[in-house]
Every structure is written in structure tokens, then in C-alpha cells.
Amino acid sequence: MAKESAVKTAHEPLFHVVKRDDMSAGKAWLIRVATIVIAFILVGLLSVLVTGQEFGKTYEIMFSGVFGRLFEGHTTMLWKYLQEIAILLSLALALTPAFKMKFWNCGAEGQALMGGLASIICMIELGNKLPYPVLLVVIFLTSILAGAIWGVIPAVFKALFNTNETLFTLMMNYIATQIIAYYVYIKGGGSNVINPVAEGNLPTIAGNDYLVNVLVVTVITIVMYVYLKHSKQGYEISVVGESQNTARYIGINVKKVIIRTMIISGALCGITGMLLVAGTDHSININSVGGQGFTAILMSWLGQFNPFIMVVMTAIVVFLNLGVAKVADTALLNSSFSEIMVGVVILMLVGCEFFIHYSIKFKHKREVAE
């Protein structure tokens, strides 16, 4: 029989998606930056569509919503902006070691709340009993401990019984919320509000309320970068995350690493809780973390688990949050509008990763072998 090697059957799919490996880092970043620019233009256009405001004016409002009257020497809004970045970034940093290990810690919310609870208890119960510096140390340590405990419980169950950490950490969030609700109910005397506590607040530096928070998170960012990239423990986290088989093969105790890493992740969430309660609100309620524990999951991913890229990503998202809120406010819209816009931008950022990792090949463009 004659050889009919090039015969192809009728129906060939119109296009198929091919994974690519070869995009250079530079080109990939170009795509990401372009996506951000396009996303911002899109947000502007959508705002114009909804508010009827002038295109250029929209960005002006957005800018004023974030920085206020910065050029006239008023730095209040700027500090508020930095503070919001600091909290979100701090949560994202806390999640990152767990994520690098492919342990999907969705419990930043609860772990931060427990850290905050530890802070407020110390502030209320020990506020007048301990000298200020000692009180600060006690607040710091108990917050870390509370967050770490809340983080390590799911890790222990994961290590010993291979439970699903996503569900477990989510459930721990609800438990934390209810504990806070109960505490507020007792201490609030039925009003369900704890009035700001004057004792045990983090110090103000040069009259600035938020500088301490910003400094603490700056330190965490640098330490986390070094920890993940240059420490032996960070290396073990990467190996366990990439392949538990490889980890076992080179003699890493996987269970130990899971538990140790979640202690760190929970402890950092606990610190964030302290920054929120002792450093910002001086009070606590069930919305103290306000869903940022979940936004932080996205920030960690968008930052590709690199602390410095995370700084940029959180800065962008918080900018949008505040800026679009102002736009919405000016047009008498409610906060849903800014949430939608932030959603649009995040979706685009996630979507552009698809084009970085895959290319689409069409039928007629198919390379011919041989």
C-alpha cells in the first residue's frame, strides 16, 4: 500500500491553546505594565460612563481621593494611604510563606482577628497595671502567640490527618469572628461597641499615628524577602511547595515544615491584628479586618510571592480603592462602584498571566512538521 503519511482527518479544532515556556521576563513585565495601564484607562472610561464626569477630571478626583491636597502640604491623606497599604501588605506577606508551600491559608482574617483580640485584652486588662514599655512587649508577644495558635491548628490537622486546609482555615475565621462578637458583647455592655482604649496604643512618632505601622511592615517586607530567598527554612518551604516527593527524597521532614511555616504565617497575621487594634482603631469589632484577609490572598498571588512586587500591587489596588471611592462619592454612588472597579482591574491582571503562560494557535497557522 502506498504511504499516505500526510493524510489528516477531517475535523481539526479551530484553535488550540499551547503552553509556552519561552517568554522572557522583560516581555512578561511589559505585558503586565501594559495591562495595568489599560486597566486604568478602562476604569476611567467606565467611570465616565457611569458618572457622566469628564474623562480627565475623573483621574483628578481619583488622585485627590488618594493623596488629598498633598501639593499644598497636607500629608494626612498620604499617610492614610500608606497605612492602608501597610495593613493589606502585611496580611499578604503573612500568607506568602504558606502559599509558597502550597498550603492555602484562607484564614488571615481569623488569625489577624485573634491577634487583635489578644491586643485589646492586654490593653483593657493590663493597661493600667504595667509600665508602658512592658505593656507594649506583652501586647506584641500575646498577639503573635494568638495568631500563631490560630494558624497552627489547621496545620497540625493537615500534617497529621491530611485535612483540607482551605476549608479548615475558613471555618477558623468564623470561629474567630464569633469569639470577637462575644467579647465585644461582654465588654461593650450591651451596646456592642468597645469605646477606644487609651492605654497600650502603639507610640506616635513625630506626631504621626501611622508611622509605626508603616515602619513595622517595611521591616517585615525586607525580612520576609530575605527569609524566603536566602534562608534555609525558606528554601525548605519552596521545596515542599514544589514537590513533597522531592522534599522526602532529600530528607526534609514535611510535617515539621508545614507546622513551622503556619506558625510563622499565623504569627504575622497576629502582628497585623495588633497593628490594627493597638496601632489604628484602639478598639475591636467583627469587621476590624474587613475582608482584607481575603484581598491579601490576591495580593500575594499578584505579587508572585515576591514581597517587593507585592508592595507595588497593593499600592495599585489600594490606590484604586480609595480613588474610585472618591469618584463614586462625588457622583453620589455607593461603595459598590469602587469594589466593582477594583474587581475589574484584578481580573485583568490575573487574565494577563494567561497570555504570558499560554499562546493560542489557530488552525491555519499550524506549523507543519518535517
Binding site: K8, Y249, G251
Partner: protein, 513 residues
Amino acid sequence: MEKQPAIELKNITKVFGKVVANKDINLTANRGEILSILGENGSGKTTLMNMISGIYFPDEGQIFIDGEEAVITSPKDAFQYKIGMIHQHFKLVDVFTAAENIVLGLDEGKYNLKASTEKITAISSQYGFDLEPEKKIYTMSVSEKQTVEIIKVLYRGADILILDEPTAVLTPQETEKLFNVLRRMRDDGKCIIIITHKLHEVLSLSDRVAVLRKGEYVGTVETAKTNEAELTEMMVGKKISLNIDRSEPVNVEPRLVVEDMECIDRNGVKILDDISFTANAGEILGIAGIAGSGQRELLEAIAGLQQVQFGNITYNDPKTGEKEDLRNKTPLQIRELGVRLSFVPEDRLGMGLVGNMDIVDNMMLRSYRKGKTAFLERKEPKDLAQHIIEDLEVVTPGATTPVRRLSGGNVQKVLVGREIAASPTVLMAAYPVRGLDINSSYLIYNLLNEQKKKGVAVIFVGEDLDVLTELCDRILVIGSGRITGIVDGRTTTKEEIGLLMTKSKQQGDENNG
């Protein structure tokens, strides 16, 4: 007695990246017959069948069903052509009953489990299956689950059945039962295709045998007119001279002694039984066997990655002369005993290396604990990476390229290079040349030979019998988790090893007992 062709393949080719899985395959399977597809691992049997059942789409060539050209782009299409495949790994919902699993995903109009159950019972009795339709899957034995899978495709009206290594998980009694069922289906006019590499099963069951070797179609023979020796030769090919340099072993002394080792897997099934052998320093010990006969578990048991039920693993330390017990020690404990055990696992990127890390960080896997500080020392691994890239001619853009981007041969050079750099006294390598081109393969053989000359006890698990017989000093043959023979690498033949490999468990018992 002219038979009706049910399915014809013409010039089927399938390529994955650079690997040609099937090349110009022509094959016919008739109604009322059992066709065996025979071939070693990696010969392309499963790929070919996956194209018939709609999992892959051929790059070139045509498939004819009952003389008409067929386009099969999904398993659903395959069912329309009445093709049913029973995979090696079952795809059943554990908490559902047999009947629920069988009707799952079918649109028969009204969901009527009672009517379906009756139909299932009818099918069962027609072909002699034992099945309780109300039994839940998780309470079932492997053989019962397989029965569910087979009835599932029969229920959908399949008359071309493809079974991918159906006996791999069955006991001999269950196998016999399955064969009787298959014979009954054949007599009913169905076309049965069975993928296997067990020669005695091929001979006892099938009407015709099609043999594949390295992705190419070798030929089809009628079972009645062939024998084990001929099939073995078709499967492994004629002897090719490789000219691997094999030196006489010097200073041979026992390095690693394994006695009466037994291991069970997670389901409590014995995967290694009664394993005893000695790996000598200055010698290459080959391990031959059909894939999945326990080679991986054997090496992992020694490396401390597989729980050992019974038996001993003893290491004779060449420096102190002391005996160290390695049984059920973790890899870290083994290293802390001062045992220089290097292991090139079968799964290079899933176990030996981390695909997303660069070469330097992969070098560090073995050495990252060095140093007293909490921080990594990247200087040495960097030098080592550079050294290996130069010495072994690794083709890579640089030492900071993730290893998953390298080609198979270069990945293996990185892995073997690292393991040898630890100056081992025992070097275990599982399928170190799988997927490698000729040049890279020879580089690996030479590295293994060099280690042997240095007095290392080398254990080499291979699949190419030509290589095993030319490289190894002794060859241990393993079949179904038992040693079926240890032969001298210089005097043995491929046929002898081939027969030992395919020797079944009972035959092995008879010969040993």
C-alpha cells in the same frame, strides 16, 4: 473463516513535542476475535488505544470503523462508534453503588435505577459476571471495580472493547475469571483489544497478537502459530551491538546486603516479597523487569522512602568496616550515619529535582544544610553547577535557568551530575537513560562505569536489555515483586532475561520451590 474487520488503523502517527509516540501504525482488529497489543513500556500501546477511544487525536492517519472513516475527537464520539475503553486506573465514584456508576452521565430519558439494574443484571448473567448492582464502590475489591468498568461500557452498547493492562491488578484466579468472560464476549461477536506485556496471557487468551516496539508497528501474528521466543524477539528486537566499555570488576566486596525484604503498599498489597541480594563495590548490578514489577519500591526501600515490613538492609562502611542497619531509616538519618548513598530516581522532575528551581538551587538540594547559620550558602552550589554544565556539556542558557526548561537529557545530566558529585559509595539509578538520545545515553553509561572503577557499588535499573547485557556485571531480574533470577551479565542472553521477566508469580514459585 473470513472475519469482519471492526476497526482499522491506517498510518497513525502521534507526536508529543519531540517524542514520537506512534509512527505509521497500521492495524486491524476483527469482530469475534481477541487481539493482543504487545510491547514493552514506552512502546506506544496506550497512546494508540487512547486515540481510538477519543482521548488523543492522531496527528496523521485515519481510523476506519466497519469500513467507514471515523472522526473520534472525544470519548463521547468513541461511544457513538460503540468503542469502550477500560482504563488501568478506574474512574468510579466511590460513594455511589455499582448501578449508579454505570448509568452515570447517560441520558436515557427518565432516570430509572430499577430498570437500569435489571439491564445490568441481564448483562452480568449473559457474560457470566459476578456483580451486585447495589454494592457501593468503596466496599469493592479491585476485581469487582474492574467488573463495574467493563459493564459500564457494555451497558453503553460497546462492541469494541479495549482493556489497558486489565490483569495488572488481578490475582491469578481473578485473571482466569476475566479471561472466561472475555472469551464469551468474543464468541458473542465483539471485538476485544487487550493491552498487555505478559506473554503467557497473550498466548492463552488472544487469537492474534500485534507487536509494537518503540512506537513502531512490528507486525501481527496468529497466536496459534507463534511461541514465547518469537514474541520476545519481536518485542525486544534483534540484538544490537552497543560497544559499551565494560571493565573487569576490581576489589569486589559486599557493600549493600539486602535480606528477605518485604514491602506492602498503601492498600496492603505485597509489592516486594522475599528480596535478597548483594550489591558489590566495584560492580554494576543491573535490575531488569517489566515496568511496575517493584523496581521503584526496591530502590526507595533502600533510600529510606518506602516502609519495609520484613527483612534487613545492611551497609558495610568501607572506611570504618562497620555494619550499618538502614532498614526504615529516613533519608536524613541514613546520611547522618555517614552512608554515602546517591539515588537517581525514575521521576527526575518530580523527585530528583525541582522543576521550577534553577540549576544552582537544585544543586543545593543535597547540600543546603551545610553551614551553621540559618542562611543559604550559594557559592559552592554555584561552582558545582558551573562545573557540571561544563563537564557534562549541559545545554542551558545559564545556571539560573529553571531545570524544567531543559531537555530531558540535560535534566538527567544535572541530576546524575549532582548525585555523583556527592562522591557516593552506593549509586542507585532508575531508568537513567529513559527518553535520552544516544549521545546523552552514552555519557551516562560512561559516568556509571567511571563510578564502578572508583569502587562504587552501582545499581542500575534499566529497560533496554541490550544495554543491561552490555553494561552490567550481574543482572537481577524481578517479576511481580519477586526475584526471578540473578544472572551473569557477560554470559546471559536477552532471551533468557526476557523469559525471566515475563515469568509469572506461580511459575516463579514452582521454579524456586
